[in-house]
Subunit: 334 residues, 3 copies
């Protein structure tokens, strides 16, 4: 982490919060409670780390009022910034930090190696990284950042304040083919829709969002997509939903608002997930889920030998159930 | 979807089929039966949507003869184009539509930012998008389209009429290492083969196809690969097989013709799949499959609490079977 | 495979080993025992292919002394190169072959289309392929090769003798957000760490390695990563560990040295895997593994009909166990 030259006063002035302790403490880095040294600021995200807080060498710790009191009682000598939500305060601190690091290092807004098509509309302060390709009639909202080597397809829209990481492909053709029953070949269905992405969306490296077949693929405001995610054609993802790395969402699936999908999970096509549905990592969603909640389907990890026995037995499970039923009948009849 | 100015007569003249109704109806868009308005054309892919057909506002619907008759009896007022395979007709309509949209918007065949190696052979009407890299001695057949930011490795061949989407990497090194037993390190096996891709193959965004170790990796005619797929070295995929997004095929696997593999499935190395094998999404193929058919292996999704109980029990499943056997013996002996 | 004009003597002179047979045999290709013709060299990696060895047409076979004797007794007429580890010898042969193929075809070390930031440090003989992006303050060690279209993010370090394949993204932001409880939105945690990669690391096509939140993401010496792998922020991977294609490692996971992870497996966040842990393909690691060994968790593949029955029963498994217990009680009480 690159250091920034700041004081406790600078931070509180920028981000608010009550400062308990000296405003003149020099802060060079942000660090975890365990690793923090005397020129670091840290934060207590959960009371379960309270003893680490008390023992921390940090110059300053962001914490709730009660937790700060306990730590001081237990011997913590540094300053505290009091916040009702220290983790959120920490997030905002990282943003302030990043802005200070970026000062003086401003880059060209549109990198000269980017390839920009015809009739492209770019909002104010849009940044387009090196070797991006923006195809004809694409639209990018104000303040959105495209890192290097992003492809934004023809007619696709990205909203304001979005971040698109390297290698992302928005607007490749959806996977649509009709079988030709006579020749037994696949006949391409041209993908005539586009992709529409809302505001404040972040899209991770090498993620792909396909254009729709007839209608558009839609990603609503505030959605966060991690790396290497596949979003099929005509998918619709609701506001503030977050998908972890390597998730695959098949064509025409609709995912509600405020959902989370764990890494490597798969959502099959044409399904609907209600708002606030949470899918565990690596689970496969094979039916619509109309009730908010937490859903899982993973084969539990085991040592290989035990797994082999259980997996072999699993292939007879239905038969075992029948045998159990049979025994129960005997019991009833005796 | 961008609109095209056409009439029912234009469509039938281009694509055939019997038109029942006016040849002068103005068609601006293709839409689903539900969404179609009075200037849209739609299609009935399955009789189960017959009631949507009857209620549709579409100017014209592509349908089988019997279905059209039923819809008209039930009050459908629009025109019909009669086809034995409406979904295939629809696919061809999207292709005709795309060609009309592209007219007047012809791009340079080889984008000036593409990096083309030495002794590369390009067939007639090949298109190479912005910022592609075609390495030395690569060969591309006639009419094949490489979208932007594709890498085609040295000595690799792509056939005619292929479509390769953005971010695809063809011909990176296969994953091959020999263990050095003395130093406990991995020693690279240089990948000296290449990749050979047939005609009419489509490859989705950010998909990777590795070059072979000694022999070539082979993708036969008409294969369709979705986005973010991994094809290991020396894999062989037979004609007209389709793989959905995020599939992984490990090295030296052989997949037959006319197979389908669902999204996120994994095929282990050195296995053989016969023709017309269909693997469900997210299933793991751990043994060769020599019989055509439909195969699945997914842990069923459940609410998290129920899953936890069942998953915990699953780790004792072999033991449960033994206990059941024991009980059955008692029953026999009593 | 492109041929090289060599003799058995050339090979033994370069790579060592005892040659039994003529030093003047012309070698044009490396091939498997099955496919080898009279101008090919092959190798016996395992005694189980001994009968293929005896029947091989190869000009020369790399083999252990005892295996070579058996093959000659069984009628093998070609030459042999004796090595205690024929597979390792083969790996080194492919490297020698590659160097001979590359001679005379030297390319520019830094391709003119690569975009190189400010204050970048490149070691001796570093190669940077076409259309790479090396951001400010990045460091690349001696002899490392970046193939085309790689992104190396600001402040990230890659060691010596590494190979990075096309489309790789090193140093995109980790996936870190704090929930704003009031607005129910995600607030970005700026990722202020970087990525540090050791020596002799290979990274497959379109793989992503995210930068750390505060500390760095670390990949140690000799690690081998296949294609389309996702490495989250603050992951630590120990020396000589190998991950197959499509693996996902979530944030802050620590994987030991000399581990292997099969294709498509998922390692959840904040877990620890000891040295020499081996995870089967497509397994999900949901808890730390502190003991070396082989671990698996895959739903066994079955024909779809059988799977449906077993999967349905699996959702009642805990209940079945309870019923079994009940029956056992009856047995005891009778």
């Amino acid at each position: 982490m690159r250091s920034v030259d700041a004081t406790t006063a600078d931070i509180v002035q920028a981000l608010g919060g009550e400062l308990i302790g000296s405003p003149h403490l020099k802060i060079l880095r942000i660090a975890s409670l365990e690793r923090a040294t005397q020129t670091d600021i840290s934060f207590l995200s959960s009371p379960k780390y309270a003893h680490q807080f008390a023992a921390s060498q940090a110059a300053c710790v962001i914490a709730r009022h009660a937790d700060a009191q306990v730590a001081q009682t237990l011997g913590f000598k540094g300053a505290c910034i009091i916040s009702d939500d220290p983790y959120l305060y920490f997030a905002k601190l990282t943003q302030w930090w990043k802005r200070r690091l970026d000062e003086g290092g401003r880059r060209a807004l549109i990198h000269p190696t980017a390839v920009i098509g015809q009739r492209v509309q770019l909002g104010a302060d849009v940044r387009v990284g090196a070797l991006c390709v923006i195809e004809d009639d694409a639209v990018i909202g104000a303040r959105t950042v495209l890192h290097s080597r992003v492809t934004l397809g023809a007619n696709c829209h990205v909203g304001e304040d979005c971040i698109v990481h390297s290698g992302v492909v928005i607007g490749a053709d959806g996977f649509g083919f009709a079988p030709n029953q006579v020749t037994d070949e696949w006949v391409k269905i041209e993908q005539l829709g586009a992709v529409r992405i809302g505001n404040s969306v972040e899209i991770g490296a090498n993620t792909c969002i396909d254009r729709g077949a007839l209608e558009d693929t839609v990603i609503e405001d505030g959605v966060k997509l991690d790396n290497l995610i596949q979003i099929g054609h005509n998918v619709h993802i609701g506001q503030h939903t977050a998908l972890a790395g390597c998730v695959g969402v098949a064509g025409s699936a609709t995912i509600g608002a405020h959902c989370t999908v764990g890494g490597g999970a798969v959502v099959l096509g044409h399904l609907t997930l209600a708002d606030r549905v949470h899918i565990s990592a690596a689970s496969v969603v094979t039916r619509s889920i109309l009730q908010a909640g937490h859903y899982t389907g993973i084969f539990p990890l085991d040592d290989n030998q035990a797994w082999e026995k259980n997996a072999a037995t699993l292939k007879q499970l239905h038969g075992l159930r029948e045998r159990l039923k049979q025994l129960e009948k005997v019991r009833v009849s005796t």
